[in-house]
Subunit: 189 residues, 2 copies
């Protein structure tokens, strides 16, 4: 049987081009993704996720995700920090994009490093400027939950649970040390 040319599956957009290779550039100490053709070095560093526990009186804003990962599950407004913004501006932008919510940042609840996925999640405590919230394009619905109403089994990500609990612990404190990721969380490494 002769070999017939096979059409390769298309490379997904997040995957590096085929001429990229992992190697340690001159004078560096870490492996980088380098283009063998032109020498372009694609430095990969951890990405920052910014989000907030947003309060209206004693109710907390959650959004049900319209997209994967974890479509259909409830999350705090949060997402990747972009260039040309501060961490606080990023958290406010995400609240606007995901829940049409205007917020005022109040305190830094946690700096959650998750080395396994190359993320540092910075979650803030914030006040809603008004209770008028609505789903953005990435949300199916948004709602304000009293503590006893939070759908704990339908939360999208572990850090949503961490931030909610850390908010609860510090809700009467004007100033405190931000929390870090729980050391016993098995998905940390």
């Amino acid at each position: 049987m002769s070999e017939t040319p096979q059409s390769k599956p298309p490379r997904p957009a997040w995957a590096p081009p085929e001429n990229f290779r992992r190697r340690v550039p001159d004078g560096d100490t870490h492996e980088r993704l380098v283009c063998d053709d032109c020498g372009f070095i694609n430095y990969e560093n951890p990405k920052i996720v910014v989000g907030a526990v947003c309060l209206w009186e004693d109710r907390i804003l959650l959004a049900r995700r319209a997209i994967n990962p974890r479509k259909g599950y409830w999350t705090l407004p949060a997402g990747f920090m972009e260039l040309r913004e501060t961490t606080e501006e990023g958290a406010a932008r995400e609240a606007w994009e995901e829940a049409c919510a205007r917020i005022e940042i109040d305190a830094l609840l946690g700096v959650y490093s998750v080395p396994r996925i190359g993320q540092v999640q910075m979650m803030y405590r914030a006040k809603l400027v008004s209770p008028d919230v609505a789903p953005g394009p990435e949300s199916l619905e948004v709602a304000l939950f009293a503590w006893d109403e939070i759908p704990w089994k339908e939360l999208a990500f572990p850090s949503v649970t961490w931030a909610l609990n850390h908010w609860r612990e510090t809700r009467h404190l004007p100033s405190f040390t931000p929390f870090v990721s729980p050391a016993d969380y098995p998905g940390l490494r």
Copy 2:
């Protein structure tokens, strides 16, 4: 006069390849650097710099830079956070790489967003495990300075000054709210 082929100057390694173009990918809200040939999307997000004010008794560890930017100026051990580490581990790694210093992280002093350069600088308070320090490959010399001896006019970066002052303000506090970048710093945007 006939045109002669000119050799182009080599493209520096940090510059994107020529077939990369800035455009908004489908379903996205921000411009990204996209390869016109293969569709690779080079997401660019702010990078995290991790560092520490490292104390031995009441003296502070500084390192004089052997490399640009700001070669010859004094800095706190700090550098880009790498994948597969937490922010605290990154700060400890930088202290080791730049000053052969073993440290114990104690508190988060500041989360300094600098949108102009796409960075979030996270500076910690730390204790040196021993006063045995020595220059790493990126340092000309290292030294332990009493507060009155700090070479303020020879500090490498604004955030070094911020972190030192924020350490001074909170040095007797076990718990406090981390500082942010001074709003009046002209290089912020």
